[in-house]
C-alpha cells in the first residue's frame, strides 16, 4: 500500500505546478537566488582584491583593489 501512496505522490506532484499567470511573487527580485547582485559584486571585488589567492569565482585581482 505504501508503494501506491508513494507513486500517487510522485504522479500528483507535477499537477501542483505554478501556472504562468501565477508567477508574480516568483518574479520579485527578493525571490532570486542572488537578490542583491550589486552588493554581491562589490563584496566579491573587495574579497578578490584582499584575498587574491583564494576564491575561484568572479574576477581576479592583483591585490591593489583597482580593477
Amino acid at each position: 500500500m505504501y508503494k501506491v501512496i508513494i507513486l500517487w505522490v510522485i504522479i500528483f506532484l507535477p499537477a501542483c505546478s505554478v501556472k504562468p499567470w501565477e508567477r508574480g511573487n516568483l518574479a520579485k527580485q527578493k525571490m532570486a537566488i542572488n537578490p542583491n547582485p550589486g552588493l554581491n559584486a562589490l563584496r566579491d571585488h573587495a574579497f578578490t582584491s584582499k584575498e587574491a589567492s583564494q576564491g575561484g569565482f568572479g574576477s581576479s585581482g592583483g591585490g591593489c583593489g583597482c580593477n
Binding site: 500500500m1 508503494k3 501506491v4 507513486l7 500517487w8 504522479i11 500528483f12 507535477p14 499537477a15 501556472k19 504562468p20 499567470w21 501565477e22 508567477r23 508574480g24 518574479a27 520579485k28
Partner: protein
C-alpha cells in the same frame, strides 16, 4: 502489486493525463471570461467586437516582455483601428492598483481588462506570459502567439493584416 492496486494506479495516471492535456483553443469560439473593464465592475463582452479582428493579450506588470510589447501593440492598434482592429489586454496581476499605477505612467489606447482571480487565463489556457490570441471577424480564435520579442513584430503584424483582409461571410 495486486490487481486492484494496479487498477487504481492506472486510473490515477489517466486522471492526471486529463488535466495535463488541455483543450486546443485554435478554431474555437472565443470563450467568455469575467475580466473587468478598466477600474469598473463591468465584464468585457467579446461578442461586442464581432465583425472586428481582435487581439486578446494577457499581461502583467511583473512580466518584462509584456511591458516591452505594449508600445508596439499600442502603435499597431492605432495604425489599424480604422480598418477594424482592436486590442483587449487582460491584466492578471494580483494587485490591480499596481497595474493601474503602471498604466498611468505608461498609458495605452486600447481596452484594458483586469482579472486577478486567474479565471480568464485559465479559461484561455494561457501557456506563457505574455500570450496573444488572434480572434477573427467571426469571433473564433485563429492563432495564439506565446511570449514577445522584437523579432515577433513582423509575425504579429502580418497575422493581423491577414485576418483583416478576410471577408466577413
Amino acid at each position: 502489486m495486486r490487481g486492484g492496486e494496479l487498477k487504481i494506479l492506472i486510473a490515477c495516471i489517466f486522471l492526471v493525463a486529463s488535466f495535463i492535456v488541455s483543450a486546443e483553443m485554435v478554431g474555437q469560439k472565443v470563450p467568455f471570461c469575467p475580466a473587468k473593464i478598466n477600474a469598473s465592475e463591468q465584464n468585457i463582452d467579446f461578442e461586442k467586437y464581432r465583425g472586428k479582428v481582435i487581439l486578446i493579450d494577457f499581461w502583467a506588470t511583473w512580466c518584462p516582455p509584456c511591458k516591452q510589447s505594449m508600445p508596439f501593440l499600442n502603435a499597431l492598434r492605432n495604425e489599424l483601428v480604422s480598418q477594424g482592429f482592436e486590442i483587449i489586454a487582460i491584466n492578471v496581476d494580483d494587485d490591480r492598483e499596481g497595474a493601474l499605477a503602471f498604466l498611468k505612467a505608461y498609458p495605452v489606447d486600447y481596452l484594458l481588462g483586469f482579472d486577478s482571480s486567474g479565471v480568464c487565463p485559465s479559461t484561455f489556457d494561457v501557456k506563457a506570459m505574455p500570450s496573444s490570441y488572434f480572434i477573427d471577424k467571426q469571433g473564433r480564435v485563429r492563432d495564439i502567439h506565446l511570449g514577445y520579442r522584437e523579432n515577433d513584430q513582423r509575425y504579429i503584424r502580418n497575422k493581423i493584416t491577414e485576418l483583416l483582409a478576410e471577408k466577413r461571410p
